[in-house]
Amino acid sequence: MTELLRGSGLTLLRGDRCLFRGLDFALHAREALQVKGPNGSGKTSLLRAVAGLLDLEEGQVTWRGQPTLGHRQAYCDELVWFAHRLGFKADLTLVDNLRFEAGLRRTRMDRFDEVLERLGLGRLTRLPLRSLSAGQQRRVSLARMLLADARLWLMDEPFTNLDAAGQALVLELIDAHLAEGGACMLASHQPIVLQGTLKSLVLQ
């Protein structure tokens, strides 16, 4: 299996605290990596650092062997970021937001209706996102991920605000993504079970 993402010697300081030092991990195709640890142990910061939103004190993240710092565009082209916050405009409708995504990254608009049906958002396309429930808004973020033609899913606490059915759906989607040769790195303290290979990385 080709190695996709590797972090070597990652060190991150937040203000006075050293969140982690000399951290190493590798992520291959068809693999998921769960970052575990108590709240405040830096799970989110690690994901943000791997994505490139945070500057690392030391260490390097490589994508397909190339450092992400120098080859940002190639890395971002194959990456989709699923975060706590919605990442969409609450005043706009689902359709407008997802059409905006199509301007940013490679998006499979041909699968638009199929994805919306699968996430149960078919009837909500005309409503501004403000009027959707938190769970439904998470599904809109999931829709972005499914439509994006991205090999790497970076997910920060994907299971919050989701009911049991929603959480099962997320696991199902991750498995499908891995089966297609994708990779997924997620931060969550909840125990999860996947068909595909699941590695874990524990932060103190």
Partner: protein, 230 residues
């Protein structure tokens, strides 16, 4: 996975322009507030200084320009605030489209929403200052070039202060000193036009500043956004 083709740069720019303009129409306050502010500030001066026509003619260009500068200032703070708070900024930074291009898109939207309306309304204000018609033409030219430069400068300031809680006061402290050359050339050029002097120097300068801003500011804004979004 069928590889969908990557959107072109123009598609990215159009996408962000379309989205932000759509947002602006959903919240007309963003467009009207600077306009009302501009009109109100312009009417303060005659009340304060007196209605004597020759005085008004003398202070006309300066007042219109200072009012426009302040009106732009109050709308600069919101340029990236919305995206910062709802997480859209993460998505913009992590998109394959170059961030300076997206920052330029947001700056253009800010100009369309708060700069252009000022230019269109300024003749009405100028008339209250008994400004002759050809001077109004020069004023609109300098205002349109000047407001573009102010949007570009403002985008850097807004990106630097987006994450801070009392950012708007700091934003004006950062932007105003840098905006002084624009104010100088803008207001003085209109005054020169009023005394039918040669105005080309001022307009050339404002155009040059515009080009300099267009080529440099987006990169500074992109860097500032990455830093503020940490």
């Amino acid at each position: 996975m069928s590889a969908a083709n990557r959107p072109t740069l123009v598609a990215g720019l159009v996408a962000i322009l379309r989205r932000d303009l759509l947002l602006a129409f959903k919240r007309p306050g963003d467009v009207l507030n600077p306009l009302f502010f501009f009109a109100i500030v312009s009417t303060l001066f005659p009340l304060a200084i007196g209605p004597a026509p020759e005085q008004l003619v003398a202070i006309g260009p300066g007042v219109v320009w200072v009012a426009a500068l302040l009106a732009m200032l109050i709308s600069m703070n919101g340029m990236f605030l919305g995206d910062f708070e709802d997480g859209s900024l993460d998505q913009l930074i992590l998109s394959p489209q170059p961030l300076p291009l997206l920052a330029l898109g947001k700056t253009i939207t800010h100009w369309l929403v708060s700069g252009l309306p000022l230019v269109l309304v300024s003749p009405l204000i100028a008339v209250t200052y008994q400004m002759p018609f050809d001077t109004i033409g020069v004023m609109m030219a300098t205002l349109s070039l000047g407001t573009i430069s102010l949007s570009l400068l403002g985008s850097v300031g807004a990106a630097l202060t987006v994450g801070l809680n009392r950012g708007s006061a700091l934003l004006s402290l950062l932007v105003l000193p840098l905006a002084m050359p624009i104010l100088i050339f803008g207001a003085r050029t209109v005054a020169l036009a009023a005394s039918n002097d040669v105005v080309s120097a001022g307009i050339y300068f404002l155009a040059a500043y515009c080009v300099l801003g267009l080529s440099l500011a987006p990169f500074a804004t992109a860097a500032a956004l990455r830093i503020s979004n940490e």
